[in-house]
Amino acid sequence: MSEATKPITAEEAYNNENDKVLRFLKPRFHEEAFPTIQILGYIGSLILTFGAYFLVMNHVLPPVALLSVILVLAVFQAALQLGVFMHIREGRGLAWQLIPLYFVFFVALGMVGMSIWIMLFKSGVS
């Protein structure tokens, strides 16, 4: 077999300087000694959850204000989960992270928003 058609190994392909796509796909990992941020994030997420529970169970706010506050808490919760547990800040380039993330936000907002719209029963017929 001639040198030109010789198959290359995965490691060689990943380290090929001329192939940007392959270098982009090479796996990379990041580790820390002690997960301080994760533990703080866990406590924070519990506080946000029980805060929402407390607000609902004790009826401290009128309905519209209550709904708004819960939605704001949910946004904080989502940001916390993404930032702390889903490694949103560790990356190699923006494309992989952001396009799915925009899609996630779009779908989540669509689900919540349309559910509210549906369950309001602004009906002329029913």
């Binding site: 077999m1 058609t5 198959p7 290359i8 190994t9 995965a10 392909a13 990943y14 796509v21 392959l22 796909l25 796996p27 992989w96 899609f103 996630v104 779908v107 669509g110 689900m111 349309m114 559910s115 719209w117 549906i118 369950m119 029963f121 602004k122 009906s123 002329g124 017929v125 029913s126």
Partner: protein, 659 residues
């Protein structure tokens, strides 16, 4: 303690599980279990079972276990279907009492969707995806085993309900208030919610696993637009699972809270809102029907290209349309409950969004037809299912668009028209696709082909039986027969059509018997696949021997083309895959672990305890869960190295090593 024993018997064996047919099944199960234990003991296979199967993390073995479970569940769901059709064959039949009829249609639907179709799909994912993308395993092999055991123990929990405590009987959708404690006090619905939560956790983990696998584990050179269509379908399905299952888990957990802890999310008293359950359920439920069919779109794309001996027509358009379907499927869920009366604005919006999905689906149908156009078609069983799928799915889809017209839906809602529609798409799309994929990849999974002649008999029985069963049901729906009707009086004009439908169900049952015969016969006497490429395939899994060695690829391939294996064969480079001894290095493989099995078993104990509100049992199970997770979290000894010499020997024995 006689009072204690009486309590146990009354709780575990209430009158609803003491029908003669169920007692007969009890006896059969006991005999079968004793026989199985005796067989395993006599042939000294307990150690083999534990080492090779129960603790395995190998995706190929997990695929086999998924496949076996799915076929067993197809049998159970099929028996349920035959019972339903027997009851409805004649007017005023009381073969089953109303309560048992309710239980049977509930378990039929739930088992077919969650415990037959889903594991069958995961069987195909597990069997093929790592081979197709040139990887040695999925991204998280241990999580993969956990997914399987959570599914398996969820399925066991669901399936013991009809012999211990009573089946769920509120339909596969489990709407409140049918599931409310006030109207449904037995343990049946607890079984439903807990089994689905446990199996659903496994499914969510599978979704994450295959999303990461398809994004991160592809061989170098396999860019997104060079992925085979089945890999695209897997990626999209995994994304759908990831979004769709959380609303289901939330809805099921809230219903369970209503039943066990006295909350009132969905009860009619104390300000609960039953329709919110319906909304949450279908937020999951509509993406779920695409979870059920998109993988099979991928299977059909592979099958049609292979057996037409042509590249898939319009590959970029196929990708765009599969992504469009994924996106649109999140915006259509209200069409399952138009009659709730959310208002004309809401209904019009969701009716239109539903019709929009027909466009990308139509694009895919045309592309499959154009792939066949001018190709040299080989009529194998897999290809027959593909060709049967196209007209069946088109007609099912067209009746779906009819149901999307809101005023028509007010007439057709919950009639047999709807039943016929969704069986048309789920059998025509999902079941035909699963069987097509099974026949196509069987040589790769087991090293022998399924007998084609027997397979064709099974195919024709399924295909003809399907149309005889469900065409009359469209007409019955138009004549006003509603679903979940346990019997009907004579004189409504439904009698003849129901008889025809039942005959069709028997034909499909015969098809299942032939299918099982085909599998067993082929395992014993089937034609061995010695080439590894029995169909003249196009994608990388056919470059490997059948069955595939434990490490899949002795050397990870580098991909240049969309149909890499086909291109290599065209260029006469298949020998380039034969290795030189110095190219083989040590291979890192995941280590077998009992944790996934024990985790599933612990969840089973939790589920069983909570079903009967026996909290000590549930707590013991929960401690088991925590122990498994802690152990797994700090277990760093999770992989081993396969020596290069072992790999060289294996490859040499397969004739794949140079020199």
């Amino acid at each position: 303690m006689p009072s204690f024993v009486t309590y146990l018997i009354h709780t575990l064996f209430p009158p609803t599980v003491r029908y003669p047919d169920i007692l007969l099944i009890d006896a059969g199960l006991i005999v079968g279990a004793i026989g199985l234990v005796g067989f395993l003991t006599k042939t000294h296979r307990w150690g083999w079972l534990w080492r090779e199967w129960l603790t395995t993390v190998d995706h190929k073995k997990i695929a086999v276990m998924y496949l076996i479970s799915a076929i067993v569940m197809l049998f159970r769901g099929g028996i349920d279907a035959e019972m339903l059709r027997a009851q409805l064959a004649m007017p005023s039949v009381h073969f089953m009492p109303a309560i048992q009829y309710d239980e049977v249609f509930t378990t039929h639907g739930t088992i077919m969707i969650f415990f037959m179709a889903m594991p069958f799909i995961f069987a195909l994912f597990n069997a093929v995806i790592p081979l197709m993308i040139g990887a040695r395993d999925v991204a998280f092999p241990r999580v993969n085993a956990m997914s399987f055991w959570l599914f398996a123990f969820g399925a066991i929990l669901f399936n013991i309900s009809f012999i211990i405590g009573g089946s769920p009987d509120a339909g596969w959708t489990a709407y409140p208030p049918y599931t409310g404690l006030a109207f449904n006090p037995g343990p049946g619905e607890n079984y439903y919610f807990l089994a689905l939560i446990i199996a659903g956790m496994g499914t969510t983990m599978t979704g994450i696993n295959f999303l990461v696998t398809t994004i991160r584990m592809r061989a170098p050179g396999m860019t997104l637009m060079k992925m085979p269509m089945f890999v695209w379908a897997t990626m999209v399905t995994s994304a759908l699972i990831l979004f769709a299952f959380p609303p289901l888990t939330v809805a099921l957990a809230m219903s369970l809270f209503d039943r066990l802890f006295g909350s009132s999310f969905f009860t009619l008293t104390r300000g609960g809102m039953p329709m919110m359950y319906v909304n949450l359920f279908w937020l999951f439920g509509h993406p779920e029907v695409y979870i059920l069919v998109i993988p099979l779109f991928g299977v059909f794309s592979e099958v049609v290209a292979t057996f037409s001996r042509k590249a898939l027509f319009g590959y970029p358009l196929m990708v765009v349309s599969i992504l469009a379907i994924m996106f649109l499927s999140y915006g259509t869920w209200v069409h399952h409950f138009f009659t709730m009366g959310a208002g004309p604005g809401v209904n019009a919006f969701f009716g239109l969004s539903t019709m929009l999905i027909a466009i990308p689906t139509g694009v895919k149908i045309f592309n499959w037809i154009f792939t066949m156009w001018g190709g040299r078609i080989k009529m194998t069983v897999a290809m027959l299912y593909q060709m049967a799928f196209i007209p069946t799915f088109v007609i099912g889809g067209a009746s779906g668009v009819m149901l999307a017209v809101v005023p028509a839906d007010y007439q057709l809602h919950n009639t047999y028209f709807l039943i016929a529609h969704f069986h048309n798409v789920i059998i025509g799309g999902t079941l035909f696709g699963l069987l097509s994929g099974m026949y196509y990849w069987w040589p790769k999974m087991f090293g022998m082909k399924l007998n084609e002649r027997q397979g064709k008999v099974a195919f024709w029985l399924f295909f003809i039986g399907f149309w005889i069963t469900f065409t009359p049901q469209y007409l019955l729906g138009l004549k006003g027969m509603t679903r979940r009707l346990y019997t009907y009086p004579a004189g409504l004009g439904w009698h003849e059509l129901n008889v025809i439908s039942t005959v069709g169900a028997w034909i499909m049952g015969a098809g299942f018997v032939v299918l099982v015969y085909n599998v067993v016969w082929s395992l014993l006497y089937g034609e061995r696949d010695v080439t590894g490429d029995p169909w003249d395939g196009r994608t990388l899994e056919w470059s490997l021997p059948s069955p595939v060695p434990e490490y899949n690829f002795a050397r990870i391939p580098v991909v240049h083309e969309r149909d890499e294996w086909w291109a290599m064969k065209q260029k006469g480079q298949t020998m380039a895959h034969a290795l030189r001894p110095e190219d083989v290095h040590d291979i890192e493989l995941p280590k077998n672990t009992p944790v996934p099995f024990l985790l599933g078993a612990s969840f089973f104990v939790v589920g069983f305890g909570m079903t009967f509100k026996w909290w000590p049992i549930a707590i013991v199970g929960m401690l088991g869960v925590i122990a498994c997770l802690l152990y797994s979290g700090f277990d760093y000894d999770d992989h081993h190295h396969l020596e290069a010499d072992v790999v060289r020997q294996t490859e040499a024995s397969l004739g794949r090593l140079q020199g």
